[in-house]
């Protein structure tokens, strides 16, 4: 089925007895830049970095992408992983803390609790994105992704998430919920988040600077995507302790970009 059989979700990839291809079809569709969810119009700071000269060729781009992956990518992967776990397992780990009022047994309180949990995870994302421009871009992409995913892979979790955060959940959270709906494991959700944290910027640089797309794909191929995803999964934090790696230059680029006259990308 979808990996949520008795005994809980497959949190670290394919669980015993699961076919090796489990979730891969969903992962390919989700991570494909052709997924019609608005991602093509976001450069993740690359447009502004190209404009200011911070990125002028493949070497700069490689450094930009490595740093982006180690910071925003790591945070996105961790949030997507957590969101996918939460969508798989509506018990929502952080809701069982002493102070939470989630003492009612399964029943009517369930949907309300799920909505509260989504808002809590979304607030954790908010606290990790200092720049309002980046929060806006993240929410916009999250809203569009949930809208698309709801039609492609209808699921309870996506419906609850859309209701809980109507302006749009942060993109990694939307991605985690969409991944669960698409049949992916949390590990695959984290991988998709890490991947999309760099591909949009890479494509934007190809378009804006006319870089050789093969060179840029080589740069992408050399990024430590799997290592990063593995380390995020190994940590398996409480939501409050999830990675929070900041990138001050991305914050500056995002705010400058919003104030730049000529913009081809949303962010």
């Amino acid at each position: 089925m979808d990996g949520t059989a008795a005994g809980g979700p497959a949190v670290n990839g394919a669980a015993p007895g699961m076919p090796p291809t489990h979730g891969l079809a969903g992962l390919l569709l989700l991570a494909d830049s052709r997924l019609p969810a608005g991602g093509h119009a976001h450069s993740g700071g690359a447009e502004e970095a190209c404009r200011t000269g911070a990125i002028s060729g493949p070497e700069d781009l490689a450094r930009f992408l490595r740093g982006r992956l180690a910071t925003a990518g790591r945070v996105a992967a961790a949030l997507a992983w957590s969101a996918c776990v939460a969508a798989h397992d509506p018990k929502f780990p952080d809701m069982r803390r002493p102070n939470s009022h989630n003492t009612a047994p399964d029943g009517h309180a369930h949907a309300a609790d799920a909505a509260t949990a989504w808002r809590l995870l979304d607030a954790e994302a908010d606290a990790r994105i200092a720049s309002p421009a980046q929060r806006l871009a993240s929410r916009t992409q999250g809203r569009l992704l949930v809208r698309t995913a709801k039609r492609v892979w209808p699921s309870t979790a996506l419906g609850t998430l859309a209701g809980a955060v109507p302006d749009g959940a942060h993109h990694p959270i939307a991605l985690g919920a969409a991944a669960q709906a698409a049949g992916c494991t949390p590990a695959q959700a984290a991988m998709a988040a890490a991947y999309t944290s760099v591909t949009g910027a890479a494509t934007a640089a190809v378009r804006l600077l006319g870089l050789d797309p093969v060179t840029v794909h080589r740069v992408l191929a050399e990024l430590p995507l799997a290592d990063l995803t593995d380390s995020v999964i190994a940590e398996q934090h409480d939501w409050s302790a999830l990675p929070a790696h900041a990138a001050p230059a991305l914050d500056l680029l995002a705010e400058q970009h919003l104030r730049t006259e000529v913009r081809l990308f949303v962010s």
Binding site: A70, S240, A249, L252
Partner: protein, 268 residues
């Protein structure tokens, strides 16, 4: 290299005296973390001895009681040196209802070969006020820095306000135009407003950006000034500009309902 590893825990607590003024309730120094009261409600951290050195574990606890205000500064910058293993500096802060904390020490300088970990955990009551500045300098003049991993967590009434980690000395992010660019220092100042966190997303505060510095209204009730610079002097100038923008916004008529404490004149 047989120096004994240092374990130190300093504690600072305020209380109200019978006239309703702030007094220092507890001031426990633990070398090398030495505390000196320099004015009413104002404490200076005086480093006695070098470091921290690799292997040292230092901890500072600050509790600002309801209705009191406290300012913490330092005499000199902190030079983090290599030693046996990783050094740790942890700071735990609690700011109660109606209380104000200004924390503005001199920068932390990461010497070559250091391996340093910093954690700061701040719990704010919903109507507490905070001014918290942190500056990290990547090595002394012309020096390549060692490694540093800092984590900063601030919550307001238990809700997350700001969580940030910085990693210096990691080949993945060093020199990345996405992270620190060509800067040699990073700094940030968190300034919280008194607004309750009921509708933080509708807050119309505008971000501002200038060369190497941005004033970033957070989703919760606070603003972060974030800066990158070539040296410590430029970093301080950029942060100060951003900090002044926050107080200007707070003083403008449109912002009168939000308000900020402490007032600009009390900012360091």
């Amino acid at each position: 290299m047989t120096k004994a590893l240092v374990r130190a825990r300093a504690i600072l607590r305020t209380g109200l005296d019978d006239r309703g003024l702030t007094r220092i309730e507890t001031m426990r120094s633990d070398p090398p973390l030495t505390l000196r009261q320099t004015a009413p409600g104002e404490i200076h951290l005086v480093s006695t001895g070098a470091g921290p050195l690799g292997g040292d574990h230092l901890r500072l606890d600050i509790e600002v009681a309801e209705g009191t205000s406290l300012t913490v500064r330092s005499i000199a910058s902190t030079l983090v040196l290599p030693g046996t293993g990783r050094s740790l500096m942890e700071i735990h802060v609690d700011v109660a209802s109606g209380a104000t904390l200004v924390f503005a020490p001199e920068p932390t300088v990461l010497a070559a070969g250091c391996d340093h970990r910093m954690t700061t955990t701040i719990a704010l009551a919903p109507d507490a006020s905070l001014f918290w500045r942190e500056e990290i300098v990547f090595g002394r003049h012309g020096e390549r820095p060692g490694r540093c991993h800092s984590r900063f967590d601030a919550t307001v009434g238990g809700r997350p306000l700001l969580r940030q980690e910085f990693v210096v000395g990691d080949p993945e992010s060093d020199g990345s135009p996405a992270v620190f660019g060509t800067a040699r220092c990073v700094g940030s100042t968190l300034i919280t407003t008194e607004t309750p966190a009921d509708e933080p997303k509708s807050d119309p505060r505008e971000a501002e950006v200038a060369e190497g510095v941005a004033v970033l209204p957070l989703a919760g009730p606070g603003t972060l000034v974030s800066a990158l610079a070539a040296d410590a002097v430029e970093l301080r100038a950029r942060l100060s500009w951003g900090e002044s923008r926050v107080s200007i916004q707070a003083d403008s008529p449109a912002r009168a309902t939000v308000g900020l404490r402490p007032p600009a004149s009390r900012f360091p």
